[in-house]
Amino acid sequence: MGKAPHNRNKGTKGKKGFKVAKRAHFEARHIDQVWEDVRKEEPVHDGTHGPQGTTARVAHDEDVAGLGQFYCIPCSKYFQNAFSLESHERTKPHKKRLKVLKGERPHSREDAEACGGMGKPDNGPPLTEEIQEMGF
């Protein structure tokens, strides 16, 4: 909570418009999504495609910084070029984010239900092969 120390006293210099900021807020991937992104065996972003869901982008998309080629997976952010991506990876917020992602799985609905005194969901006996073949 609160600003990272290096971000203080910036004034209005780096401020984006209200709408841009709001859209960025909604499009940003949540911590539980990123937690899974980081652990995926297939790369979530290969320079052409972003992660499925909130910020999926194709390369040479003019709406995205750097045409969507330079993406920081832990922070789910696009950068203008390889140099700025690299310098971002040296910043404190990025390192803090890495530390969080190394930890346990973020709070989920299952956790919330367990906290409310509920057990794991009961999905009944697994479907038999015959039923599965029928497509139910």
Partner: protein, 149 residues
């Protein structure tokens, strides 16, 4: 209150307070008033067999009057048992509380006795003890030789 994320994951919130905190991207495990915090820090009962009864059941159950009656009876019983266990957990958690509280209060009284009894009165009552209290420990003075160096 329900929020559906753009990857079609559904989030339910018990009240707008929780919704607002979610929008602020807070971690429930670190916010002290949440159940998640209380469980993670051992304040509430965890891993109890009474938690196994209530659960989301994603399968149809044929209506049966007897089963319903029995379930309703069982619910009351299970709730009672859970409450008793939660109370016991609280008792265990608070076992040493009174002793530590008393010790702390005694320490405060000792340190701030001047608020109860004025220093001159203390001096008149127990001159030696009072002077002893005023003494402050100081490191041994350095020898002149070491200072010259």
């Amino acid at each position: 209150m329900t929020f559906v994320r753009n990857d079609s994951k559904v989030f339910h919130f018990c009240r707008s307070k929780c919704h607002r905190n979610f929008k602020m991207k807070r971690n429930p495990r670190k916010v002290a008033w949440t159940k998640a915090y209380r469980r993670a820090h051992g304040k509430d009962l965890t891993e109890d067999s009474t938690f196994e009864f209530e659960r989301r059941r994603n399968r149809p159950e044929k209506y049966n009057r007897v089963t319903v009656q029995k379930s309703v009876q069982a619910m009351k019983k299970v709730l009672d048992i859970r409450k008793a266990r939660a109370d016991r957990h609280w008792d265990n958690r608070m076992a040493g509380k009174k002793k530590s509280d008393t010790a702390e209060a005694r320490k405060v009284l000792e340190n701030e006795i001047h608020l109860v009894k004025a220093p001159p009165a203390q001096l008149a009552e127990d001159p030696e003890g009072y002077m002893e209290k005023l003494k402050v420990k100081v490191a041994a003075p350095q020898s002149m030789e070491s200072m010259e160096e």
